[in-house]
Amino acid sequence: MSERTAIIASSVGLHARPAAIFTAAVAELDLEVTIAMEGEPADDAMEADSILSLMSLGAAHGDVVVLRAEGPGADEALERLVQILETDHDAA
């Protein structure tokens, strides 16, 4: 199991647009990726390919989230996903 943390960069949190970009990136992977707020049990993690799950996570700007995935290429994949979360997509 690979695990990485990311700090949400988007100024209004993980809302529709940043969530859409992130979900699209997860959907391209051949992996099951989960996302949870830092400190929450791994069992409560949500599926990262669901835009509604991401939004209902309620991650605000500056919050730390934990991404988890298992399988070949998981490390590289999570690295890419962290970068997406740590980019402010609202900055035009």
């Binding site: 647009r17 969530a19 509604l52 799950s53």
Partner: protein
Amino acid sequence: MNNEVLASTALVQQFSGVGVSAGRVVGPIRQMPGSVAEPAAGVVVPADVNVAEQGQRIKDAAKAVKAELLARAASLAGEGKEVLEATALMAADPMLVKSAIKLLSPDAPGGARTAERAIWEAGDGVAEKLKALGGYMAERVADVLDVRARIVSELRGLPAPGIPVSDTPFILAAEDLAPADTATLDPAKVIGLITSSGGPQSHTAILARALGLPAIVAAPGVDEIADGTEVYIDGAAGSITVEPGAELLAAAAAWSAQASTFSTFSGANTLADGFAVPLLANVGTGSDALKAAEAGAEGVGLLRTEFCFLDRAEEPTVDEQIAAYGAVFAAFPGKKVVVRTLDAGADKPLPFLTNADEPNPALGVRGYRTDLTSPGVLERQLQAIAAAEAAHTAEVWVMAPMISTAEEAADFASLCAAAGLKTPGVMVEVPSAALTAATVLREVSFASLGTNDLTQYAMAADRQLGPLAALNNPWQPAVLQLVKLTADGAALASSTTGLPKPVGVCGEAAADPALAVVLVGLGVTTLSMSARALAAVSAVLKTVTLDQTRHLAFTALAAPSATEARAAVRAGLPILDELGL
């Protein structure tokens, strides 16, 4: 032959309502699909229903909705495209679809649901979660519910909710339109609007005037005309004719030829005797302002600053505001631009400023009153307006919405002075401000009548309610009296202070050419309206002298009803019929 005449007369089917935007057009009807009915709860699902098949139906319907939304997103650009793409992702979202599929199982709490009911409840669950998060996420609840309604329609084999998609232009018929519907309306496809409900100040009416689309509201029965039926609508007369004859087809053709000459307004509007009545535009953004300047507007009579705040979870920064206001000032170098400070609340709630739980939001903490509960927002806005003014040559006036007393006017004037803004004013939309205009205007440099709210408050009739359309009419003699009291009060304040105290109108009333004449006659000095209406209003004003406007205003004030006031004034303005206005 007599029989034939009778037969054809019998076939003519007419509907009538309140004309809210002039124009004569002919086209096929497309009905706005009604809101999606909630699938019944507690329906017993037969034991032989194949749960896997029902699950597949949900997945297929979700995919179809996603594909349809993506196809629509592809035809858009910018923010609208991104919003629709995100909505499309929600449609086929694994969380939504999986939780719906779980509810199909006989093991689900409460037993097996139908596919329609399952997706309905799954949508409720997601909406509840988002609502609990508040702020921006809570605002996305509407998107989730929209997606859910689309999936249910797809499962039922019914057309998707929302404005119909068509390759050919059509006249849109509906019970009423919501702000969300009007945002997606394509004026290249929709050539007219008719609704069975709604009033003259409804969103449908305001949108129609902004787009220059002929429109009729409060016309009972029009939401039942069959799709594809050809109809003729006259947006000035408020009449709708099914299967129009040659005469009406010719009237529509004449209107479309006439309308092209209305596309230009020369600027510098005057009455027949040369008396100047500047025509200004109502705008919300820099791009609106550019269009208004192209249309000949002599300035901006209402800059609605809340457009810069809407869809925001937090207050925009001063720098963002400077850029937004500067874009409007840049479009009118050396010209007057009247900025209305933030008008949040009632039909324009803002999460960081207004309380959604007020029992009566129209009478609640809205407009200038939000300064009581969230001090600082207004001061920062005034600071931004002053900084934007310094960077441009536009002559900037600033006014506060929802002012009720001379005291509030004085407080606002001191806030403006502290920010270095030289021309403070007030909106007159609360009847108390109209009644005490002489003392209110001693405190500020000008007033602008917001006739939409002034009508709603004077008549105690909600702007959006179809059954109250007759009350909610700016032609009501009581509303005209308040306009006159404001103008008279301003004249008194001007003579006691020795300073000019102009009174403008920036409500929808100014865009009605007949009412514009009355307003001028009552003492209004400038009219501000949708840029689309400038040419038509100017075409009518230039046919009357100031004396004639006063005479017509007197006629309207003396009328016993709104209908009679309008009829009497229109009878005195034959130019309206000639121009089809």
